[in-house]
């Protein structure tokens, strides 16, 4: 017994170090395998509030640019609206809606690491939940991962854990969108079979297989394509429409049918 106590006293610094390292490793490794850690994320109220305060100051410096961008988006939406054949007596029944949209602002963005997260200033009190899709006017951005009362962190598409269903526009050839960490302007689309005709410049949009994003949200255009090692699938470099370094206003998409879809799928798997 005395020996053990002596040992502990003698190596107490080393033991303390080992203990702290085990804690750090546990947090890191656990979130490698699954979701981002519950505790270490910037939707936490301390970090959220500090980022929120400084972002408030930041916003004033690019109000002009953001206004212009919103105006341009409105212009596109209006031209779509006016050129549509008028439908008599439009009544929007809220019970029939498939998606609801919440707007928000980015308060922290990162794109230099290999697992990037974006923090937005909308949280539980704005009914943001895990696994909602986040887009901008130009294209997709990521998926909500953690929420606090006022903030939420978004797993960016520039994240090695990100895996989003995407397809070639106007076809039904779909694959998975991943990121190889090389370049923040480019993501990779894999699992497109080699018999699909491809052209540089073709548009890639989100697919219908996911219950997170609606179909046909723009992602980017084909920059380069190769066959992968199995020689039966393409590996496509997709240049993003979004400038991931410059994001301010975002839309969070809530798929109102998601719960039903998930329940159904779960039941099917169980049987």
């Amino acid at each position: 017994m005395q020996q053990i106590i002596k040992f502990i006293i003698r190596y107490k610094i080393f033991l303390l170090y080992i203990l702290l390292m085990i804690i750090a490793f546990a947090f890191t490794v656990r979130s490698h395998s699954y979701h981002q850690s519950r505790f270490f994320n910037s939707s936490h109220w301390i970090s959220g509030n500090i980022y929120g305060t400084f972002q408030g100051i930041d916003t004033y410096f690019d109000l002009d640019d953001e206004n212009e961008r919103l105006l341009r988006e409105n212009q596109i939406l209006r031209s779509k609206l006016y050129n549509q054949a008028p439908i008599p007596n439009i009544t929007i029944d809220t019970a029939d809606l498939k998606y609801s949209i919440i707007s928000g602002q980015v308060i922290k963005n990162s794109y230099a690491g290999s697992r990037n997260y974006i923090t937005i200033n909308r949280g539980k009190r704005d009914s943001i939940k895990q696994d909602m899709g986040v887009i901008t006017d130009l294209g997709i951005l990521g998926i909500v991962e953690n929420t606090s009362r006022k903030f939420a962190t978004v797993q960016s598409i520039l994240n090695t854990k990100s895996n989003i269903n995407a397809k070639l526009k106007n076809t039904n050839h779909f694959g998975s969108l991943i990121w190889d960490t090389e370049n923040y302007n480019t993501v990779q689309l894999i699992d497109i079979p080699r018999l699909v005709p491809l052209n540089i410049g073709d548009t890639i949009v989100t697919g219908a297989m996911s219950s997170i994003f609606p179909e046909n949200i723009p992602i980017g255009t084909i920059k380069k394509y190769d066959l992968d090692t199995s020689k039966s699938f393409y590996r496509i470099d997709v240049g993003l429409f979004n400038d991931m370094t410059n994001i301010k206003n975002v839309y969070i998409i809530n798929n109102l049918d998601r719960k039903e879809i998930q329940e159904l799928e779960e039941r099917t798997e169980n049987e």
Partner: protein
């Protein structure tokens, strides 16, 4: 003594704020974000309770992690250099760093430089090994350690010379 504690608390808070609000958004060449908060370990008084020092550094890493969505990678890296700091100091300054009269400002420029460079090197090695987390990407880890290390080193040296001028 009280002044020392106060100074360290102020330093802690300021370095965390500077790191997360300025240097985490710097993105030199698109991806380099220097880690300047390592200076806290460089400046921290030498003759202090070692357990407390390791604990404080654990908290420092934790607060950086909280803001930058990096799980606990900063924590692991910072705790490691906190633990190995005395070993590094013995290596760089020789046995005389244990004397009462030893002061960092009395050492030569080369020694200070080596001390800081070793701290940054070990920190970045732990950090990027955890970030990339695979041995098949050793070249990527080396590349990142070198590029980030150089940037961190240059900025830390600039900061250190900026804040030590009044003592000279």
């Amino acid at each position: 003594m009280n002044r020392g504690i106060f100074l360290n608390i102020v330093r802690f808070v300021l370095l965390v704020l500077v790191q997360i609000l300025v240097f985490n958004r710097l993105n030199f060449f698109g991806y380099i974000n220097p880690m300047v908060y390592i200076m806290f370990l460089y400046w921290y008084p030498i003759k202090q309770n070692r357990a407390l020092f390791i604990g404080v550094c654990f908290l420092l890493g934790l607060s950086i992690d909280l803001f930058s969505d990096t799980m606990a990678m900063h924590t692991a890296a910072t705790t490691t250099i906190a633990y190995f700091r005395s070993t590094v100091m013995r290596f760089v300054f020789g046995i005389n760093y244990e004397f009462q009269s030893f002061k960092l400002s009395n050492t030569t420029r080369v020694q200070q430089f080596t001390f800081l460079a070793l701290l940054i090197l070990v920190h970045h090695m732990v950090f990027f090994s955890l970030e990339i987390f695979s041995f098949s990407n050793v070249m990527l880890i080396v590349k990142k350690v070198l590029s980030f290390g150089a940037a961190s080193l240059i900025l830390c040296l600039l900061f250190i010379s900026l804040f030590s001028s009044n003592k000279a």
